[in-house]
């Protein structure tokens, strides 16, 4: 019975030369994979847009993770390539009967645990800065409302108070996109802007984020922040832009067919320019 089952093919039947080449080919391709990865990630041919916010910890955490991950990645791929090449089937080669090694298991389990969890804990710093820290007291408030497929920006105006909003007051033909209550005096001086969010540089900004139809996501790559705008909720985020200029605000959560063209502009200006813009807007209202 046993004899019947054993196959007729043994190691000698495999073309030896082919095996040398195959092991070598895999090893070379894996080396190539590592080289290309290193070049792509260190050459910065395509990379983060320049940082324009006070969340500087993001880039540090990313680089730290990148270096650790790169080491793990390269070691693992090279080890794979090396083993495949070194231990290929050759004449006279015998596999060693090894069932495992408990010391090794404990060692690599604890090392990976420490590295992964360590990174995870370090990574919470930026998160805490973004989510747990209160916005500074001098932060200016801006309301951002996502809609298919535009960003509605609203400033509280001179009185510093947003007018009440309600869905039934939404009237797009009258440019009342967010439904400001016409009877609320606080809303009279509100300044609305579509797809252009003008803010002064180095000024903490508190954004009240929500959506009037489906879920959108407020993403400013240069600021290193992203937050979903969820219908039915007002989520508060805060940031400080440190460089003037115009930066794009893509929508990062699938919101329908126009998702790809839902484009806002974060327009960071000097305080003087910002005040001028504000005045101009107020006079137009």
């Amino acid at each position: 019975m046993v004899g019947l089952r054993s196959g007729t093919r043994d190691a000698g039947q495999i073309d030896q030369r082919e095996d040398v080449n195959m092991g070598l080919a895999i090893a070379l391709v894996l080396v190539l994979l590592c080289v290309v990865s290193v070049i792509m990630f260190s050459g910065h041919y395509w990379w983060f847009p320049p940082l324009i916010s006070t969340y500087t910890g993001y880039d540090k955490q990313f680089m730290l993770t990148l270096i650790i991950v790169a080491i793990v990645f390269i070691l693992a791929q090279l080890a794979l390539g090396y083993f495949v090449w070194k231990y290929r089937d050759r004449a006279g080669r015998k596999a060693t009967y090894v069932e495992g090694n408990n010391t090794m298991e404990v060692l690599w389990t604890s090392i990976t645990f420490v590295i992964f969890i360590g990174l995870g804990i370090l990574g919470q710093r930026v998160w805490a800065q973004f989510h747990f820290a209160e916005p500074p007291a001098n932060a200016m408030e801006v309301e951002v409302t996502g809609q298919q497929f535009q960003w509605n920006i609203r400033y509280p105006g001179a009185d510093g108070q947003f007018g009440r909003t309600e869905a039934k007051y939404v009237d797009e033909s009258a440019l009342n996109f967010v439904g400001v209550d016409p009877h609320d005096p606080a809303g009279k001086d509100d300044i609305a802007s579509i797809n252009r969010m003008v803010i002064p540089v180095n000024q903490p900004v508190k954004v009240l984020l929500h959506s009037k139809d489906v879920t959108h996501s407020f993403f400013v790559p240069g600021l290193r922040i992203k937050q979903d705008a969820v219908p039915g909720m007002t989520i508060t985020i805060h940031f400080t832009a440190t460089k003037t200029g115009e930066y794009e605000i893509p929508c990062a959560e699938l919101c329908g067919l126009g998702h790809y063209k839902m484009r806002g502009i974060l327009d960071v200006r000097t305080p003087v320019e910002y005040q001028q813009w504000l005045k101009k807007q107020a006079s137009q209202e």
Binding site: L80, A95, L119, M233, Y260
Partner: protein, 591 residues
């Protein structure tokens, strides 16, 4: 169900074509049925992806032929954004549910789990047949969604409400198509959980004598763990699906909050929460990722051991890691929701748990390397795919270290970095598991060998191809390219990435074309391949002790008795370099 007692299984091979090949209760036929269902879905899913890749690389090119094929979606040869999103949605759904969930688990699992544990069939053969046909109905409904009037659904495979719940007013594709999509998923859930309970019962109750848990092949451990995940995860998606269907057709508002104005229409819903769906969906969705990849891990372990002629390095660590991944897999769903508006405190917990789940994954990688170490590696096509699996698993795994961190996810979430990550790991790594399993088990399933040179050509094209497709996506993610954009030309900062889009598309077309080598090999070998012996790979597990293909009751009426672990290769002092699991040969204890 006629007999007064079911105490003794008596297997008569069914007569007649329909009972034998269509409504068969034989687990082997059902396994093959699942495999072909997955094969159909993967070809369809791949074609859809090639279509949308074409659009991404050359958004303004005129594809007249395609315009004739899809008169609405590509009117005049130009792809509309809604058609693009429909393609993305259907590609994701088909691949995740009807390929990655069905092929490795329901397909190979059905065929080989009973044989590998020495059983003559599943515990519930009729239920098994039912599971397949329920899944089949789900696929039919899903394909109907693709061709539904008003367009195929376009809210992504995650179908976040309110977009997916509001109905027609939220845009094209959100009418009948989306409803069919949800119904198909609910049906799929039922089929999957029935299949899962069958697998679990079979593994626990029907093992042959001597097949202790610690002698089960790692493939069996993988299918078993996957089944537990499926049993506990699919019911939650089912609940979510029921609520979403009700929101769409029953007018309820589980996922729709008050005061929405969509396309200038005031929505008459109130009180619901979009986050509730995300919780329910991802509570299922994260275990689902492991449902896709765990069988691949099992197959990789099996192949690496067989073709290194060495026992699996750290067998106990291997199945413990699998169980740990399965267990922890239920604790990490929130990492899909870091920026969703979920409580940021929950996010911290989810983040640390997510990084913890990286540990058993790393253990598995180290043990695979340990299996190769000092082996005698034979480069069969199956082995090449297993080696490719390990490489892709590493590549896809390490990017998870970025995404698992709350802070780094702040930027990387919903960019191409995520797309690259999950395609590497649960997409192509799992697919490599399926390919490896196909090259390995094809002789057993169909009695003929696959052509090796063709298999190797297939491997090289596919391995280099998928790296070329998905590696650049990580770079695009770092550069901030959001996913699900049908056209990036509206944004200045994205325009520099266009060459990458073109490169990826070319790579995708080449890789997709190379799959013809596989299909050709598969169907040619089915009829013309070299006849397979009982044990062509000199492997040890029980499926290699029976003829290729196995008879109707697997073991010819007499169940095997098992004496050895699953991976006794190159045992010092043994007659051959492998000892079959049911061989009474004694092992001289190697110390």
């Amino acid at each position: 169900m006629g007999e007064p007692t079911h105490a003794v299984h008596v297997h008569h091979a069914p007569k007649g074509f329909i009972r034998k090949y269509i409504f068969s209760t034989d687990h082997k036929v059902i396994g093959i049925q699942y495999y072909f269902l997955a094969l159909f879905s993967v070809v369809l899913g791949m074609l859809l992806s090639v279509l949308f890749r074409l659009h991404l690389a050359w958004p303004n090119a005129n594809w007249d032929l395609l315009g004739k094929l899809f008169p609405t979606g590509m009117a005049g040869g130009l792809m509309t954004p809604e058609f693009y999103l429909s393609l993305v949605t259907m590609h994701g759904t088909l691949m995740v549910f009807f390929v990655l969930t069905t092929a490795p688990q329901s397909g190979f699992g059905n065929y080989f789990l009973p044989i590998q544990i020495g059983a003559d069939d599943m515990a519930f053969p009729v239920l098994n047949m039912l599971s397949f046909w329920i899944t089949f109905v789900a696929l039919v409904v899903m394909v109907m969604a693709l061709f539904a009037t008003g367009g195929a659904p376009l809210s992504g495979w995650t179908a976040y409400p309110p977009l997916s719940a509001l109905g027609k007013i939220s845009g094209p594709g959100e009418g009948l198509g989306q409803t069919l999509w949800v119904i198909s998923l609910a049906i799929f859930c039922v089929g999957s959980l029935l299949g899962a309970l069958n697998f679990i019962t079979t593994t626990l109750n029907l093992r042959a004598k001597g097949m202790t848990l610690l002698r089960m092949p790692l493939t069996v451990w993988a299918w078993f763990t996957t089944s537990i995940l499926a049993l506990l995860a699919f019911p939650v998606l089912l609940a979510g699906g029921i609520l979403l269907v009700l929101d769409r057709v029953g007018g309820t508002s589980f996922f729709i909050p008050a005061g929405l104005v969509v396309n200038e229409q005031l929505v008459n819903h109130s009180g619901g929460s979009p986050l509730l769906w995300q919780h329910l969906f991802w509570f299922f969705g994260h275990p689902e990722v492991y449902i896709a990849i765990l069988p691949g891990m099992g197959v990789a372990s099996q192949l690496l051991s067989t073709f290194s002629r060495k026992p699996v390095f750290g067998y106990k660590a291997m199945f413990s890691a699998m169980l740990a991944i399965g267990f922890l897999g239920f604790f990490v769903w929130g990492h899909h929701m870091f920026i969703s508006g979920m409580s940021p405190y929950s996010a911290v917990a989810f983040s640390l748990l997510t990084l913890a789940i990286g540990v058993p994954s790393a253990i598995k990688t180290f043990n695979w390397l340990g299996t190769l170490w000092q082996g005698k590696i034979q480069f069969t096509s199956a082995m090449l795919f297993a080696i490719g699996f390990v490489s892709l698993f590493v590549t896809g795994g390490v990017s998870g270290i970025f995404l698992g961190q709350t802070s780094l996810d702040l930027y990387l979430h919903d960019t191409y970095f995520v797309v690259g990550h999950f395609h590497m790991i649960m997409g192509v790594a799992a697919l490599f598991g399926i390919f490896g399993a196909t090259y390995y088990w094809f002789p057993k399933m169909f009695g003929r060998m696959l052509n090796e040179p063709l298999g190797k050509i297939h491997f090289w094209f596919t391995f280099i191809g998928v790296n070329a497709i998905f590696f650049p996506m990580h770079i695009m993610g770092v550069a901030g390219h959001p996913r699900r954009y049908s056209d990036a030309s509206n944004f200045n900062y994205l325009s520099s990435m266009h060459p990458l889009h073109e490169f990826i598309t070319v790579a995708a077309i080449v890789t997709a074309t190379a799959q013809l080598f596989f299909l050709l090999n598969f169907f040619w070998s089915l009829w013309k391949g070299k006849k397979a012996e009982m044990n062509p790979w000199n492997a040890t597990t029980l499926e290699w002790t029976v003829p290729s293909p196995p008879p109707h009751d697997n073991f010819g009426g007499k169940l095997p008795v098992v004496y050895h672990g699953a991976y006794e290769y190159s045992v010092p002092g043994a007659k051959q370099d492998f000892i079959m699991q049911d061989s009474p040969e004694k092992i001289i204890e190697a110390t």
